[in-house]
Symmetry: C2
Subunit: 247 residues, 2 copies
DNA sequence: CGGTTTGTTGAATTCACTCAATCCGAGTGG
DNA sequence: CCACTCGGATTGAGTGAATTCAACAAACCG
């Protein structure tokens, strides 16, 4: 299945439907949402700690990451966001942003005003549940990362991260045949998994040698999904995808 | 201020008001919520991965923890929950539970039926926002733990955890004069911070030697809040407390 | 009490880190 | 078309923070 680039609204709906069944009416309502398109370059901050935005950001193309830095200047990437994600949905209810969001590749973004989202939720109360659920799924991803980074050895940890990305990209149609764009640098993977860049490099080499992944530029290929899943101890339950989306 | 043990509803309201301003009406509505009281012993599972509960669990007394285990049997504690918390609020919107929750001390729990919470939210839409916000704050705590466990050295990491507990207990009136109950064992602190029990023990000794904490049985005392905050690089922004609660 | 959990200590080990240095491909400009 | 730059990837060698393993002390509990 070769999917033409979906419109912003199509993408948003596709993503939402992976975790929440939408009615025709609800989809129409979402499709009517005003979205302001913006292109940005690599390594641009989109939202910063302390900001009080009045809009949410929908990723349309490219990858972004959420991160925090310690007093000593060490950066932890808290999550990677891919097309269809709204990394700052929390700003609907937490006025002051407590994290940073930045692009890690050139991105196309769609900004949606809080007021429009609030209006939508008022008119379609089930959508409140849908958005709430989306934030809960992201919380679940944070938890899985906590487990992953806290208890698993580097090899498993990186394998797990790659599994998650593949799965999340698949539901929005961006990971066919086990191949997908993965523009994160090794330094970024390192900051996401809490290991050093040097060590990340060595682990990736072993993963390649073991035939679990192969990379060409920013293209990641997973020849044997089951083997990688096993290496990464990956169980997608925590992504809370509904069955139709997993198939 | 010596607070008498609050009723379940008082405790719930006190906690909610630390992150969301409630009207008199809303408080009355919450007070009318049916709550089923249950006492449990230490180390009892309350909710398990795979469960599909029809109720949420309000902690009234004691500590509980949320955890996950890897295939190799390593346990990561994802969060600690204290009186006033509802650790499984997510079950309102994520049918299948993806984590475990267990007591780490004897606990008094209050179970609230999903249907009652849903009804409450329908009648008082602002409360939907309040509960949603509560789940977002917990997500924020997961993120901070990710940063803490991923990027900070063991000493800072444990100091930070103690700071967080003090702060969260304070808003429900359980940490006056820098003293509070902290029933977690060193093994549990270890699983929460992603370091070994042995090393946790050594770090605690240093923290005591540095005069940052002192412990008598399960009582934790913090003689100098500012010093501990500094040692733990603690900034409470991520808890999203409203000003009146911080004071 | 005796049994069990929790806390403490020592010694050897290791996984991952630090600190460079080097390599490489993609642009850029002369 | 090649020299130059620059970000990213790779490699080597030495180091260290935290681990493992094992034993022991202390506190807790029925």
């Amino acid at each position: 299945m070769t999917t033409l680039a979906p419109t912003p609204h199509e993408l948003m709906i596709r993503k939402m439907e992976s975790i929440f069944p939408l009615s025709v009416e609800e989809k129409q309502a979402i499709s009517a949402l005003p979205i302001q398109l913006v292109d940005i370059k690599t390594n641009q901050d989109i939202v910063r700690e302390g900001d009080e935005p009045s809009q949410c950001c929908l990723i349309l193309e490219g990858f972004t990451c959420m991160y925090k830095v310690t007093a000593e200047g060490k950066r932890q990437i808290l999550s990677l966001y891919v097309p269809g994600d709204v990394p700052d949905m929390q700003s609907l209810h937490l006025k002051v942003i407590d994290i940073n969001i930045a692009s890690i590749s050139p991105c196309k973004l769609g900004f949606i005003q809080h007021k429009d989202l609030r209006q939508l939720c008022e008119r379609y109360p089930r959508l409140t549940a849908a958005f709430w659920r989306e934030t809960l799924v992201h919380a679940s991803i944070f938890r899985e990362w906590l487990l992953n980074n806290g208890q698993r050895p580097a090899y498993t940890r990186i394998a797990h991260l790659i599994c998650e990305l593949r799965m999340r990209l698949k539901v929005v149609g961006l990971a066919e045949n086990g191949t997908f764009e993965m523009p994160a640098t090794q330094a970024e993977l390192a900051d996401a998994t809490g290991i050093t860049q040097v060590h990340t490099n060595r682990v990736l080499q072993v993963l390649r040698a073991d035939g679990l992944i192969s990379t060409v530029k920013t293209q990641m290929h997973v020849p044997d999904w089951n083997k990688l899943k096993q290496a990464g101890e990956f169980d997608s339950l925590y992504l809370h995808l509904i069955k139709t989306a997993t198939a």
